[in-house]
Symmetry: C3
Amino acid sequence: MEFTVSQIAALLNGTVEGDGSQKVNRLDKIQEGKAGGVSFLSNMKYESHLYNTEATAVIVGEDFSPSKPLSTSLIKVKDPYSGFTQLLEAYAQLTKHSKTGVEEPSYMDQSTKMDDGGYRGVFSHIGKNCRIGKQVIIHAQAYIGDNVKIGDRCIIHSGAKIYNDTAIGNDCEIHPNVVIGADGFGFAPQEDKSYKNIPQLGNVILEDNVSVGSNSTIDCATMGSTIIKKGVKIDNLVQIAHNVIIGEHTVIAAQSGISGSTEIGKNCVIAGQVGIIGHLKIADNTTVGAKTGVSKSILQSGKIIFGYMGFEMKEFLKSYSIFKNLPSLQDRVKELEKKQ
Amino acid sequence: MEFTVSQIAALLNGTVEGDGSQKVNRLDKIQEGKAGGVSFLSNMKYESHLYNTEATAVIVGEDFSPSKPLSTSLIKVKDPYSGFTQLLEAYAQLTKHSKTGVEEPSYMDQSTKMDDGGYRGVFSHIGKNCRIGKQVIIHAQAYIGDNVKIGDRCIIHSGAKIYNDTAIGNDCEIHPNVVIGADGFGFAPQEDKSYKNIPQLGNVILEDNVSVGSNSTIDCATMGSTIIKKGVKIDNLVQIAHNVIIGEHTVIAAQSGISGSTEIGKNCVIAGQVGIIGHLKIADNTTVGAKTGVSKSILQSGKIIFGYMGFEMKEFLKSYSIFKNLPSLQDRVKELEKKQ
Amino acid sequence: MEFTVSQIAALLNGTVEGDGSQKVNRLDKIQEGKAGGVSFLSNMKYESHLYNTEATAVIVGEDFSPSKPLSTSLIKVKDPYSGFTQLLEAYAQLTKHSKTGVEEPSYMDQSTKMDDGGYRGVFSHIGKNCRIGKQVIIHAQAYIGDNVKIGDRCIIHSGAKIYNDTAIGNDCEIHPNVVIGADGFGFAPQEDKSYKNIPQLGNVILEDNVSVGSNSTIDCATMGSTIIKKGVKIDNLVQIAHNVIIGEHTVIAAQSGISGSTEIGKNCVIAGQVGIIGHLKIADNTTVGAKTGVSKSILQSGKIIFGYMGFEMKEFLKSYSIFKNLPSLQDRVKELEKKQ
């Protein structure tokens, strides 16, 4: 898809300085701008790139005036960053939701109902008694089991597996090879030291606007529901165990794991490779630093936790800086002992 | 499926106190009990929920007598917890193994033999010269390569990939998107600092009653076999490298990784996010705490290991509690230095 | 496939001592050798196995003479280890690239071109405007989106998902259930504490000879490209975030994660379960020990980094050995305090 620089400016309520008739078909970072690309300059730290970029046009603030000659056209707008984001979204809109209809062979049980405007890719599977909303995109090779509810405008990517009884709200995106609703890890130890499977009969509920990253796993509850509340964003390779509850607008970065029955509050930020043991409560607005192990409930809102067995980040960093110098502390103790 | 409260009581060899004719069709936690549900009360800590629950019936011990009026029926049995587990199992039995027959299109090479009573889902693939036992459930989009053996009553979930030469015993469950038998990470460094692929010619053996959680990976051996012994339970997103051996009835929680050629004994408990380096031996009955790094063999049975570079858990916790107070220890040393 | 011991010796430019007419069809470790197998003895530490092995033939050095009687034939070659590796490769060649042609049903958009000598497995998907080189193996249930380029002799395993605009060089191997080119984790916080999706418009570039292990994920760039340079070897369950660059011939072991926009140099070794935060630069020839957290750029080439918040490995180990004895250090301080 190609646009002129003037068309882009009109879209953004901006004005052109330079040649508005040139054509663009791509969004670039300013330091990597090439002919045919539109970039933006918001942080003046990067101003020097403006004078070297090969991008056809650069979006700048309406008050900006260049201090050197330049070979690119300028599109002047009120807020260059949100102007650019607006373009990104328009571009994504044009390229992402473009698939509709049904590709064959694909499988949908006749008891299932899917509303209009959606897409079912080739080799996808939808089981019995599902209820799929409108404009839902189900990519090739996705699997949806029985009794699954999916709201409007959801995207289920290739290879994602949504098991029986899962309920997904509106505007959710489930990335490739995610597994939702498979059995949790529940085994009862027997007298002979073997383990017996505890049937996992619950389900998973995802509220609206939830995103789950590639190859992540969310187990069904033993009974009741594993619940991911609205607006939660989960990165790749994350493990959410049975009966976990994640509060609204909490984000969880890659490779973190939340053990069974733990409840995480809303607006929390869980960084990457964090582990949280089971049956804890984590208060709203908690931040957990990367690689932290959380072994106790966090009851007060707004804490920042960090460390191998995490505690207040500031305190951990103090201890860790002494840890780095433990040999010298030990030497000082030796010195004192000698002097006695 | 609906049952009366009396039918449930009969199934459990129990007696009804209250209305045995009411119908139930679901198992609930007592604190979430709703009409139509059966709950149980085993731990008296939760007794208060009994007087508020909306569950139609609650399973209790035969000696229990309520201390307040209640609106639910009681089913009195010898052991309420195992009674409830029995119900869970009966329920799971009714809902899980219900699929039989072959859905089309699916692929099975004509040289492969699959016994009676099983199921092959749509878009599943089974390669050459496989030997599949009876009552095996192969879900939609599962992949089974060439020369694979699968015992009786196994369940291979959607998207699981079982590569060539894998041998799986009876009663195993392989969850969605698991990869078994793909190449291990074997590369020989060359003089120009590039790496050359070392062919991985071995296989993976899973003995009876093994369970592998969603998105876990078990690599084939370079030569010989990677062996997962009977009764081993592996959680989600776990990595088992080439030539590893896991002993009988050992459990491994989510996101742990076992490096190449390590042998883990029987009846071990490996918690989540543990890493064990290659070529070690871990004795029987070892417990490894969450997030532990294991860098040395553990030769004595029954140890509990914990820590970043793990050692005896008790010792680690002592050291860690002083680590948390290192700034004060450092201050005490300063104080002593001043006083000299 | 069966060969005589003499045929194997001829292939390796070696000589037979013993019965050259016996048939072999398998490669075995010497301690697990069985009739019909060929083993090798390179490290004399394992010499004792030679006198017990049931292998039909064992490859040894040309200067080797046994010190005891043996029941196996010997194949004498210049370098037994590389002779054996040569056999491994020949064997792998015979067994691996054997598939050609197209299995149906499979899906390839008519705008896509795939060169000769390749294979497309059943239930695989290839989207629009792709360009697939010669002798490319695309296994059953693999997914290739739109505008994807794949070079010659690549292997895309079952269940791997290669999303739109990905560019893959020659001789790459993408293992089962890998996800390449799905959206990165980019969300802009809004005033109401919700998050808005930042469209991810870039792609992923894999240069020649890259290997990606099962269930790993490589996210597309927000803009521009996530780049995996030639010869990089990535193990299972690894996370590579958007806009990361990995230098030539760097290896990354299982379950490690590299956060957004970090650049790793060439010839680095990243062990398992490592986490590297975003926007860092890691110099060439850096070694990062298992489970290390890297929170700062590493600017000098050739460092070995280790630890929870990693620093020079030698220093970390010194500090950690004192950490293990912190209770005794604390006691010594107590003792000093008492004596004052």
